[in-house]
């Protein structure tokens, strides 16, 4: 997994609450059995004026000029600014794959749906929680300035504005450590293989019906 330490970059806005994972990556792309290539379909319904599919060449499709990610000022953005309950709905990890594949490294919002939040960390993608009033301030600053950038420092747990104002954010220590070091969580868990086997032996004695094959 790609490690995450410091990221500085252009910020793009998505000014809607309750953005669901169907909106982040619509169902037709879930038929892909790959983990990559979803970036061009990110926010597909909002981003394009015509309907796409896995077998339609995106180069032939019409972009929606009103959608933020299609505007020149947000080209190359690596940080997404969003509202409450981002990533609600379906568990599809494709939502995170699409955001990361598009080039986003982090999202900042006041709150997230649990499964999306969890999926993010498995993909070197950082979901940052900042209070709603701070997020509102960032939306205003972003609207006022072309090429607005933020700097994220994960080890220090800060988001810093161009004028040097830092905002602290909270993050679970285990998730932070995995992300900073780019660790493979399965490999880490398998270091506890004996504990898993001990548990199974104990549980099988108590509740044998759970281990009938």
């Amino acid at each position: 997994m790609q490690a995450f330490t410091q990221v500085s970059g252009t910020v793009a806005p998505l000014d809607r609450a309750n953005v669901d994972t169907d909106a982040i990556i619509p169902k037709q792309y879930l038929k892909s059995i790959k983990r990559t290539g979803f970036g061009v379909y990110l926010f597909d319904d909002a981003r394009y004026l015509d309907r796409g599919d896995l077998d339609i060449d995106v180069a032939t499709r019409r972009l929606n000029p009103d959608f933020a990610l299609n505007q020149a000022r947000y080209v190359g953005a690596s940080i997404l600014l969003a509202r409450e309950n981002f990533g609600c709905g379906s568990s599809r990890e494709h939502a995170v794959w699409a955001l990361a594949d598009f080039g986003f490294r982090a999202v900042i919002a006041p709150s997230y749906a649990d499964i999306f939040y969890n999926n993010s960390f498995k993909n070197g993608f950082l979901p940052i929680v900042l209070p709603a009033d701070v997020v509102q301030g960032l939306f205003e600053a972003l609207a006022a300035q072309d090429g607005y950038t933020l700097s994220i420092d994960l080890p220090a747990q800060t988001v810093t504005t161009p004028d040097g104002q830092p905002f602290n954010f909270e993050i679970d220590p285990f998730r932070k450590d995995c992300l900073v070091r780019g660790l493979d969580e399965i490999g880490l868990t398998l270091q506890h293989a004996d504990a898993i086997r001990d548990y199974e032996a104990r549980r099988a004695a108590e509740a044998p019906w759970l281990f009938a094959s």
Partner: protein, 467 residues
């Protein structure tokens, strides 16, 4: 030890290792797989030369992409076909039990788990699908996971989890005749909002919940995720045990005798403390219809579509305006004036035998209204379909002008050919009314099976209590 919630008990029974930072390695008893969220996980296993930890814990089925029309010729869409074939070959390669598309036991993953007895009280149940919360109806800790976690569960039979907070939603008293589990859960979501349960496991309790059948309880827990909670739970009682007994995967004989006392302990203790408590008076719940693009945008059938001008909060006002525009509705119009184009009775929320019976009762001897272009019934599994046919329900539906289809997810999310066209309005028994969920530009109103059936006959929403 007399102050634990059901969730606390389930959590504690599955801790393999406490990480000491609020997270723990949690053992997974049952892992259900389907074709959409598993291929990348199997690739991950292959890439790292890892094997499934405990094969018997896994059960797979193809449900999202399968056609609901004649299957004898296979899947026409080559991309869908590839995905289903990938599941077949992955299961064959690793030796995982799979119900393939033409197996009589095939169906929606959250319908077949309980139906087979693969979901048991006290288990941890995971699946790469957010509606895994359904299985919480059995007093099991069940929740949806992403594909990386599917790989983690396959390879280690565990997940690294953070303990959720405890929430109890008590529905007191009894609901009025005609009010179903779907109305109860939509009313709950209307009250607490789609983020109301975020970070929590919700235990549904109260007389109105206890009075539900297992089918009804599954409908309620199914939509816990729509209230923001990864897991929904209902305490085990005699109804649970009676349902579980005698199913193919459930314990028998001595094992069953040993299991029952344990299952009976799966309830919150009388003195258990919840972080959040919500109380709803069941007698006040009316038939529910969603009007907007989020499950919390819901109204009683005798209500009126909201007026954004009356909403003071600007973000909420914008949300209402946007939803009205997308849904093609006018502020203040009565819900019963909403005219529909299609009807979908199916999905893991409402495609069990009880749902089929409720819909059939409403349509018996009647006809689908002329303005309804398509009314379809998609049973949740092959076994539900067979049972319904034995009871003659398919004949009732067909005579009324419904299409009687093969089991699968179908128009709940339209990954197969069953979709809404732009602008089409659907009375749907599924769980999500997000923009484009049932087809790009499609408009979804979530209702109970009885309300969907009544809408099919009337051509618009009607109050089932006076239908």
């Amino acid at each position: 030890m007399t102050t634990q919630t059901l969730y606390d008990k389930l959590w504690q029974a599955h801790v393999v290792r406490d990480n000491g930072d609020g997270s723990a390695l949690i053992y997974i008893d049952r892992h259900l797989l389907h074709e959409v969220t598993s291929p990348q996980a199997f690739d991950g296993l292959r890439l790292n030369a890892r094997l499934p930890w405990r094969l018997a814990a896994n059960l797979a089925v193809a449900d999202h992409n399968v056609p609901t029309t004649d299957r004898s010729l296979g899947i026409a869409d080559p991309i869908s076909r590839t995905q289903v074939e990938a599941l077949d070959s992955n299961c064959a390669e690793y030796g995982i039990t799979e119900f393939q598309m033409n197996d009589a036991r095939q169906g929606i993953v959250h319908v077949i788990g309980p139906e087979q007895g693969a979901t048991l009280p006290g288990m941890t149940v995971v699946c790469g699908d957010s509606h895994t919360s359904t299985h919480g109806a059995f007093g099991a800790l069940a929740f949806g996971i992403g594909t990386s976690e599917v790989e983690h569960a396959l390879a280690t039979q565990t997940l690294v989890l953070k303990k959720a907070k405890n929430m109890r939603v008590a529905v007191r008293g009894q609901v009025a005749p005609g009010i179903t589990a779907k109305d109860i859960v939509l009313a709950i979501i209307g009250q607490i909002g789609t983020a109301g349960g975020t970070g929590h496991a919700i235990e549904f309790a109260g007389e109105a919940i206890t009075a539900l059948s297992m089918e009804g309880r599954m409908t309620v827990c199914n939509m816990a995720i729509e209230a923001g909670a990864r897991a929904g739970l209902i305490a085990v009682d005699q109804t649970t045990i009676d349902y579980v007994r005698g199913r193919p995967f459930s314990p028998k004989g001595e094992a069953l005798a040993k299991a029952i006392p344990y299952w009976q302990s799966l309830h919150s203790d009388a003195m258990a403390v919840f972080d959040t408590e919500v109380m709803i008076d069941g007698s006040t719940i009316k038939p529910q219809v969603t009007w907007g693009t989020s499950p919390e945008m819901v109204l009683p059938v005798d209500g009126h579509v909201p007026d954004p001008a009356r909403e003071a909060d600007p973000t909420r006002r914008q949300g209402i305006e946007r939803a009205l525009q997308y849904m093609g509705l006018t502020a203040n119009m009565p819900v019963t004036d909403i005219v529909i184009d299609k009807v979908f009775i199916g999905s893991c929320t409402n495609a069990r035998i009880e749902d089929m019976r409720a819909a059939a009762k409403v349509v018996a001897g009647k006809r689908v209204a002329g303005n309804v272009k398509l009314a379809m019934i998609v049973p949740g599994s092959g076994l539900v379909k067979r049972q319904a046919e034995q009871e003659g329900l398919d004949q009732i539906f067909r005579a009324a002008g419904f299409e009687w289809r093969e089991p699968g997810c179908s128009m709940c999310l339209g990954m197969n050919a069953d979709q809404l066209s732009p602008g089409e309005r659907c009375a749907s028994t599924s769980n999500r009314n997000f923009e484009g969920r049932q087809g790009a530009g499609g408009r979804t109103h979530l209702v109970s099976p009885a309300m969907a059936a009544a809408a099919a006959v009337a051509g618009h929403f009607v109050d089932i209590r006076s239908f």
